[in-house]
Assembly symmetry: C3
Homo-oligomer: 348 residues x 3
């Protein structure tokens, strides 16, 4: 990553809401963590865990919280902002435009658009993309090897990385970002055991994502048995997540990597699910609920509740029990001792 | 999903084994759950959990169990059958033919069939498919971007969704359904630590699936070190499952999403493994065993046994212990009290 | 797998460090486990668990440990070596060359190399590969449908199986093996919650792998927020592993299938992580640490430590507690009994 950037440009982006302390005259040529940062680098204090690294950081330009009182070294500038992490995000978005220019509008000569498909003249369709009959693709970007099934829809400003597969009849909302290898609209896993074998239950529905949804690499979202598997506005899904048929996910949820959500689960708005958690079928997860990483949920979760464990329980309860479990070896000894004492009383 | 369907067609499909109560004269224009169903919709009572939704359902045609005694509303018909869920599956299979017509026979002009590969004249080979030398593809359907390795076999009526990869020498059985992005025949994970580094152990075997196997999206099945990794007749594997080298899976098993099965594990027939479970290497899982979701198995499991937990134990034992664990905070208090009582006896 | 092989060739490969007992005159036509082996097969005793299968094995040529004292049957040969499993690996590597000849050098006519990309004349570029502008590919093998992003590097002797995706600016080291469907350089999962929605934090860094790294099928490695997500020399990663942004993995680590490693985690050298384990963000895992399968790590792990459980604790402690947990039902009964005894003392 080779960048050329200036503190002036940073001030432009931050607007009036910053205080700068110290001075750095040179060019910004990189971005790095506090400990990796060297002369010319932009860095930031985003997690208070790293506060001790700040004083020794050799980065030249450092975004710090408004309440940070220490002074920079010579030739170093601290830029105080309300949220250093978000301030960095704004700067990085600006840098991103130069590092990763938006692909050119147009259809790569190797792409195949079947008769009956509609592609916006403002779309960018990459090499080896396949767009089936009846599909409609708006002013979106499709990188290489993307497959859009029959009668599927891709809205404006969606960005599909390489090897994304959107199954027939599925609908991808505006400004969605679909990472490489994700599969939207695979068959739901539904069988009836009849005459000694598992008979497939056809999955006639689709997947519908609202605006501003992100879907991670190699994540799978199954089509509904009928109706739609739904992902709400602004929800962000990480890599290798599995979302089964007929799931309905609310708005602005965060679903971290390797989570599995079973069929017909309903998530309210603003739910956060930590990595590798699993949710059994037909459950309701209330608005604003938080599920800790590695949790297995087998019952409904109330709005705003925090759950953890296998099986899931209220987080406070889990944490209390986890402490006691570690005391079990000592506890068994205390018990043996007490039993001995009681027996000696009885026998005396 | 826009459908046009009639109750008469449903009666045709169900044959003589149904009882109808009430009447609906219109067309069926959708399928929906009991709570989502509106006029014109077909619905069903498949899970007794939803029985309370039935009376208020606005669906026009509802499949119910034979023993359901309530009467439909005006303009509504109940069709009583032994297994409403399976009855719906039969109807949906009929609808599926119209929604998703089978792709046309033939080879897409963009597909590449290497010299020495054999493709049935009844196969349907999609855009950007690659079939390597020595491979044999029967009267199967390959959607776009499918890759078939050297000397691999794909039997008749197999259906490979987009971006499936079948490695060299692997054999896919008749009527298999391979979802998008699954990888059949990746290298087994085998190394010997020699001279301070991990030396790769060549994986010379293949993967063989019997008839009627389903394999989920982005699932991986590794080739054997030698011999074959085997998947038995009628076994259904969900998305993002990992099956390591030399595993042998019996017939009619169900393996739910995100399960991991380590090397050389043997599963009997009819095993059911819940989502996100893991099985350590070289274990035997007996015929008909059931492993609850989220379980980690480190010992052999007896036929028909039910296992749960980390590490796995008999399910009854797990459930009993889970209850007691939640009592630990109270239990520790009771113990402290008892200890105090005993001490006061001793000291008196 | 049809092979034709001789005991003489085996002796050539093993060099002087073996002792042979017994004799087999025929050709070797297969490789099999001890229990599956038949006349003409090569087999081996690699795991002492299978020692009881050895006496009855019908394989003709069997690699056994130096200290194995039993005698072979008539027409059977035992070849004693220090490490039978590694000896077999050496033999198999020799067989692999004949079964899987290295793809021919050259660029498949269907591949697309964008202007400004550099491809070594010794590279083998498969069907439907896409190499973006500014990318550099050395004397590597790319199977079909591989996508190399803008300005990415692929070093000499790397082997990329079908459908691998290497994102822009990422760097793949020499002799890496990337299994089908893996995604290198997907966006890190980073958001700031601002004005009631999750704002994407641009991920400007890349992924860098050192030499001799293996990466499993459908595994994902996210690009760093800035700087590099790093994979050290000789580290072997299994299928469906998720490695988040800014992770730094040391040399010669083993990371088994379905592991999830959260952002900014640092792994020392020689770390072993069992399948389905998870590591929370910003943690340090010390050199040589071992994490048992299915473990969830929420604290730093010391060098050489062994950890297990949810949440992770020292393995010995976990194993001790697991035993006591199974005793809880009996323990609760003993407690009730003791309480009764004490009460009767008090009341007497």
């Amino acid at each position: 990553m080779h960048i050329k950037y200036s503190t002036e440009r940073i001030f432009d982006i931050l607007g009036p809401d910053y205080i700068s302390v110290g001075q750095y005259e040179g060019e910004i040529i990189g971005i790095a963590s506090l400990s990796d940062g060297a002369t010319g680098d932009l860095s930031f204090l985003g997690n208070s865990k790293y506060r001790s690294c700040l004083a020794n950081s050799e980065a030249s330009v450092i975004l710090v919280p408004l309440d940070y009182e220490e002074l920079p070294q010579k030739g170093q500038i601290y830029i105080k902002v309300k949220n250093p992490s978000y301030a960095l995000a704004l700067i990085c978005r600006d840098i991103e435009f130069s590092l990763t220019p938006k692909p050119k509008v147009g259809i790569h000569p190797s792409a195949i658009i079947e008769p009956g498909a509609q592609v916006s003249p403002n779309a960018s369709i990459g090499a080896f993309c396949y767009i089936a009959s009846g599909a409609q693709v708006g002013a979106a970007v499709l990188e290489s090897h993307v497959s859009i099934g029959r009668s599927a829809l891709v809205a404006d400003e969606a960005y599909l990385f390489s090897r994304v597969s959107v199954g027939e009849y599925c609908e991808i909302g505006p400004r969605n970002r679909l990472m490489a290898g994700c599969v939207i609209g695979s068959d739901g896993y539904g069988y009836e055991f009849v005459e000694n074998s598992h008979q497939r239950v056809p999955q006639l529905g689709n997947v519908v994502t609202e605006a501003d949804v992100d879907i991670g690499a190699n994540t799978c979202i199954d089509r509904a048995r009928f109706g739609s598997t739904q992902i709400g506005l602004g929800t962000k899904i990480d890599n290798q997540v599995q979302i089964a048929h007929n799931v309905k996910i609310g708005q602005h949820c965060l679903i971290v990597a390797q989570v599995g959500i079973s069929g017909s689960v309903v998530l309210g708005d603003g739910v956060v699910i930590g990595g590798q958690s699993g949710i059994a079928g037909h459950l309701n997860i209330g608005t604003g609920a938080m599920i800790a990483a590695g949790t297995s949920v087998f019952v409904d979760i109330e709005p705003q509740a925090k759950a953890r464990g296998y099986p899931a329980m209220p987080m406070m309860q889990f944490n209390r029990i986890a402490v006691l479990q570690r005391k079990l070896p000592e506890f068994f000894k205390r018990f043996d001792q007490l039993e001995k004492t009681v027996n000696s009383i009885v026998n005396s």
